[in-house]
């Protein structure tokens, strides 16, 4: 399932970069939410998308995945349009986007990650169930397989979503605020998994809300406020100057 330790050559050339975005623009009711975005993410990065509320962070991910219509621009994942490489892409939506009262079990939700590979009509079988249990084990939720999802806490729900994404066995993952409203233990567990993914050569792109933990968790940062303000390796890009430009006002630093 996983590759060797170092970043593979698969994403070495710019043409086959995991994420390559040009001129991406999204507007709701003539108001631009994302404007003229150009972005390149190198392979094997654990990247954070950072910006103030309403800056278009979720929109960026959704536009890349084709979940919201873009008014203009192109997106290439591994050099191809999204439709052709969707089997290589995993997605963890915001927790609040779903009705957790839906009658289904934790295991069932994780198996949904494999629907793409199963194709039409085919039902998940024993091997899919096994794989789903493995993913639950990775996130520390194997004992919750039969639990009804309405009985889960916020952190547990997030882990289930993560397990579902892991079940997709992707080369690249997009996550929308996976740390929002989650307890400290879960947060540590999740970042551990993300770092393991990165070490395995996967590319992970995360909408992150917490400026304090960003430099510690991620090695690449995208600063976004409707326009891409800056994008690059964490050290070089996460500067007071860039942050000032992105957030517009004064930000207190604890550094």
């Amino acid at each position: 399932m996983t590759n060797g330790g170092t970043a593979t050559a698969a994403g070495a050339t710019a043409a086959a970069a995991p994420v390559s975005v040009r001129d991406l623009t999204v507007a709701y009711d003539e108001k631009p939410v994302l404007w003229d975005a150009d972005l390149d993410i190198p392979a094997g990065s654990l990247a954070a998308i950072i910006g103030p509320n309403g800056a278009g962070k979720s929109t960026l991910i959704k536009a890349i995945l084709g979940l919201v219509p873009a008014a203009a621009g192109t997106v290439r994942l591994f050099g191809e349009p999204y439709e052709r490489v969707r089997k290589s892409v995993g997605y963890v939506p915001q927790r609040g986007s779903v009705d957790w009262d839906f009658p289904t079990s934790v295991l069932d939700v994780v198996m949904m990650g494999m629907y793409g590979r199963l194709g039409w009509v085919r039902r998940p079988g024993k091997s899919e169930r096994e794989r789903a249990r493995e993913c639950l084990r990775e996130v520390g939720m194997e004992n919750f397989a039969a639990r009804q999802i309405s009985q889960l806490s916020g952190g547990q729900q997030q882990r289930v979503f993560l397990a579902r994404a892991l079940a997709q066995e992707a080369r690249m993952y997009f996550m929308d605020e996976p740390f929002a409203g989650v307890d400290a233990t879960t947060e540590r567990a999740i970042i551990g998994i993300l770092q393991r993914l990165r070490d395995d050569g996967k590319t992970v792109l995360v909408v992150h809300h917490d400026l304090q933990t960003a430099p510690e968790y991620f090695d690449w940062v995208v600063l976004l406020n409707v326009r891409i303000m800056a994008s690059g390796p964490m050290e070089a890009t996460f500067t007071p100057d860039n942050l000032q430009r992105t957030y517009g006002g004064k930000i207190a630093f604890l550094k």
Binding site: P93, D99, F102, P103, Y115, G116, V121, R123
Partner: protein
Amino acid sequence: MNVLRDLFLDYTLRNIALGAAVLGLVSGVLGSFAVLRRQGLMGDALSHAALPGICLAYLLTGSKAPLVLMLGAAAAGWLGMVLILRIVRHTRIDPNSALGIVLTVFFGFGVVLLTVLQKRNDAGQAGLDKFLFGQAAAMTQEQVATMAVLGGAALLVVALLYKEFKLLAFDPEFARSLALPTRSLDLLLTSLLVVAVVIGLNTVGVVLMSAMLVAPGAAARQWTDSLSKMLALAGAFGAASGIAGAVLSVTAERIPTGPVIILCVTLIVIVSLLFGSARGLVWEWLRQARHRREMRAAMAAEGGTTP
């Protein structure tokens, strides 16, 4: 006991009960999806939207054959559905308002057509307004067969695309990220709802149809946390209500079958809300009472040992 024997031997009761059972089963299963997707009102909108279709079908063909009218109902219901989905997608009008708009406009149009038809010096238009409340007593074996075929086809589609519909109902965004054609699936699922509505129109009528779609699923949810069990239970509740309604309506003269079926399913909903094993209010209340007792006992004990 006579009634039980009649259920099998008597043409009228047998067919009404069978037809109502098919209706209950299909609307229970398909309506459950509507309930889970918070689209309970969709069934109401679709059944009201069918009225102008029935009138236009008669206007254009001059025939009152059930099949013709059903096709008209289906076409209008389908058009209404497409309109609702488009309005939601392209304007800022929220789903419930869109449903309300389409429901009233179509239904109003249908009533206008009924009145206009009434005015025509045409001896053949009588009875189109019976679709408002249904005519269960007029059930024939042929009608039951048609309902069974259509309903069976709809249930087959649900069985085949079960996991796709489940994902669509639970997390449509994730579904789209898997490149599932969610718009087409949405259209398909709602089209199946149109089929359920068309099957039921002649039995319970436009006004009551929405209850048949929503009630069985709402009741079933109180008993289980598994989707497959919920669908099965909803179908069973719907079918049982159909049969019970048919049987009860032959106990005395002049009892309309459609409303009795609705009464049965309503009874099931109330019992489920109160006593459902998964979420029954009665159990919830007892649990809370027990907790309160335990807390009081714990506090009393603590109070006793605090220095």
